[in-house]
């Protein structure tokens, strides 16, 4: 990619606290999801559960570039995005339990986190299904002359879908303020990218729509943040959509049903050496921005947060059967 701007200017302390903040956010996702995995085995969480473990740097990095007014569209692998965006761990965990205190009232579960307050538009379980939605959110902003960004996350698998193509073309043609974030973890379920795409350079593909597209190390949270900031600024300034290909890897199975027949254990281990959190810890320590005490504080804070979220979800309540069909249509219907 082209040269990117530096971190927002500031003093060394600000830099340190920002770095710790990035680490804290990644750690929140990691620990939260590790617990989710356990809770799945305990059958507290059911249905499909897709863990983001290994990919945390992307959600954390990109989210730094967004303001509260911006919108997010994500996939079924979206716990991390919701957490970093500011949906509470409590509301997310309660949602995974299916409790009505969850961020979607318990109806969506793991794949369908929604939150109007933080403009978190899901939680879409149809691969590429969120892209046209993001297009529309951005179109509304353009029509209403609001300088907002819609960040749209999706996987490498989505790139093969017709909806990807239609959306990228339209976003570019209409110069809509969408920040496309392609989380290229090299697999769509068991299908390796090279078995799905004639052209595996996804950024290159995106540029064929005349969209500025960069491919980035999605394991490097600061690199992701830098690029996202620059891209989001351009999008916000009315330059049209930008596309980030974020190269990463999922450390866990696709979902809890996946026996992982399609990749070698050694490949996973190789990638784990590039863990975005472990390496960031190392780097911060080398740069003198982190010591063991600070790390321990983060870990214990996060552990407390996760424990609290679980307790909250445990003590949550079930939606009564009586309201099953509520919100099939809106409560307030205009008088005819």
């Amino acid at each position: 990619m082209s040269a990117i701007s530096a971190l927002p200017n500031g003093t060394a302390t600000e830099e340190a606290s920002h770095a710790l903040q990035l680490l804290r956010q990644m750690t929140r996702i990691r620990r939260f999801e590790e617990r989710c995995g356990e809770l799945y085995k305990q059958e507290k969480i059911r249905g499909f559960l897709h863990l983001y473990i290994g990919e945390e740097a992307i959600a954390v990095g990109v989210m730094q570039a967004l303001t509260p007014d911006d919108a997010i569209v994500a996939t079924y692998r979206e716990h991390g995005h919701a957490l970093v965006r500011g949906v509470s761990a409590r509301a997310i965990m309660a949602e995974m339990y299916g409790k009505q205190e969850g961020c979607s009232g318990g109806r969506g579960g793991s794949m369908h986190l929604f939150d109007a307050e933080t403009r978190f538009y899901g939680g879409n379980a149809i691969v590429a299904g969120g892209l046209p939605l993001a297009l529309g959110l951005a179109l509304a902003d353009k029509l209403q002359r609001r300088a907002r960004v819609t960040a749209c996350f999706f996987g490498d698998g989505a790139v093969a879908e017709g909806e990807f193509h239609e959306t990228l073309n339209l976003a570019s043609l209409w110069r809509l303020p969408v920040l496309f974030c392609c989380e290229n973890n090299l697999y769509a379920m068991g299908t390796a990218l090279a078995r799905a795409q004639a052209e595996t350079n996804l950024a290159l593909k995106a540029s064929s729509y005349r969209i500025p597209a960069w491919d980035l190390d999605g394991m490097d949270v600061e690199a992701v943040e830098h690029a996202a900031r620059e891209a989001a600024a351009a999008v916000r300034a009315g330059e049209g959509p930008y596309f980030l290909e974020l190269r990463t890897y999922r450390f866990r199975a696709h979902s809890m049903f996946d026996p992982e027949l399609y990749r070698e254990r050694s490949e996973v281990e190789e990638w784990k050496k590039r863990c975005p959190i472990a390496n960031y810890v190392l780097s911060l320590k080398q740069r003198g921005l982190l010591d063991d005490a600070a790390l321990a504080t983060i870990e214990s804070d996060v552990a407390r947060e996760v424990d609290d979220a679980v307790a909250f979800a445990e003590s949550g309540t079930w939606e009564p059967l009586e309201t099953l069909t509520r919100f099939v249509y809106s409560d307030t219907q205009p008088s005819p």
Binding site: A71, Q100, G102, C103, S104, G105, G106, R107, G108, H112, F114, D115, A116, Y121, G122, G123, N124, I126, G129, L131, P132, L133, A134, L135, G136, L137, A138, L139, A140, D141, L143, Q144, G162, E163, E166, T167, N169, L170, L173, T325, R326, F327, V328, Y329, S330, D331, T332, Q333, P334, S335, P336
Partner: protein
């Protein structure tokens, strides 16, 4: 809101309540879109060839010139993306009217309609409603053959979260759109291709009409004929023919295909004790089946005869006129079915 639900050609009514203007179904739609766009800045029209071409059925002719390309928005051939863009923009405060040229092409956008538009509100626990209106042409009769003549209203009417309308009259063509736009949830409007050129009187004070009920278009005591959209005209013709042989047919125009107004249907059947349902869709699994089942469940003991259906033949619609017409419900077949049901 005025809410006059009257026979489709109000010129046939002796004394119209208010001054009226003769107009076409197409023109009524256009004026309705215009008025909605004038009344509410959030409303915009989007779809293939709605702008420079003037709409594939000429409904939006002139609107680009009046409202500009931001609000009358030509799209590429990307049904899934622009329908999805409608959903997204509705979520973010706009009031889009998305035109999908015809129901045949809407198959390419079904994922967005079913998996997003219809589900978002419920799935998000009530947080995200989708005030989207999708208009599409439907039906056969223009000899455009197997890929351009579908009647898939039944599919849409199967989906919770959607409201589905079928304006069959000039007044509904004009009045359903504002009601759909005022609705907080996604509404699909089916415009039958054979209706665009039909003409009638539109009251000068016409306005929004209710979109939660069927209409009795003609009263009668002997048999209830139930139709919607493109088949209403033939059904009224059939009723006329039945009248000449002394059979009084009541004609119900379903108007809203989801949610179905069972009450109006059952009330009529309880009175006439006999019913025939007319549906251009392929018979098996058409909306007529649901109507029949509801009569079974709600008025079984009132029935003097089995409810019958007159439907589209179960065949991809063929091109030549004689075969196409043979594949569609005709006044003659409706009359025959009504006679059989009435035992006359």
């Amino acid at each position: 809101m005025t809410s006059l639900i009257e026979p489709r050609d109000t010129s046939a009514v002796a004394a119209p309540r208010s001054p009226a203007t003769r107009t076409s179904y197409r023109e009524a739609l256009r004026q309705s879109i215009r008025h909605a766009m004038l009344a509410d800045e959030r409303v915009f029209l989007m779809g293939e060839d709605v702008g420079r071409y003037g709409g594939c059925y000429a409904v939006s002719k002139g609107l680009l010139e009046e409202f500009g390309p931001d609000r009358v928005r030509d799209t590429p051939l990307s049904e899934s993306a622009f329908v999805g863009a409608g959903i997204g923009s509705a979520l973010a405060g706009m009031r889009p009217i998305v035109e999908v040229m015809t129901v045949n092409f809407s198959l390419l956008a079904l994922d967005q309609i079913v998996n997003s538009a219809a589900t978002l509100l419920h799935m998000s626990g009530g947080q995200f409603n989708v005030p989207l209106v999708i208009r599409m042409a439907t039906g056969a009769g223009r000899q455009v053959a197997a890929q351009h003549s579908h009647s898939l209203e039944a599919w849409y009417a199967h989906v919770p979260g959607l409201k589905v309308l079928a304006p069959a009259t000039i007044e509904d063509a004009y009045g359903m759109l504002p009601s759909a736009l005022a609705d907080p949830d996604p509404v699909i409007i089916f415009e039958h291709v054979m209706l665009y050129a039909t003409e009638g009187e539109l009251p000068n004070d016409a306005g929004a009409v209710p979109i939660d009920r069927a209409a009795v278009r003609r009263t009668g005591g002997d048999v209830t004929l139930i139709a919607y959209g493109g088949t209403l005209g033939r059904t009224l013709d059939a009723a006329e023919q039945l009248a000449t042989s002394g059979i009084g047919a009541e004609v119900i125009d379903l108007r809203t295909l989801r949610p179905l107004d069972s009450a109006t249907i059952l009330e009529s059947v309880r009175k006439t004790h006999r019913a025939v349902i007319v549906d251009e869709g392929w018979r098996s699994g058409s909306l007529s089946a649901e109507v029949s089942a509801r009569i079974m469940e709600g008025a079984f003991y009132d029935l003097d005869a089995a409810v019958q259906r007159v439907c589209g033949a179960e065949v991809p619609v063929p091109y030549p006129r004689h075969l196409e017409q043979a594949a569609l419900p005709q006044a003659a077949s409706i009359v025959a079915a009504a006679r059989a049901v009435a035992g006359a």
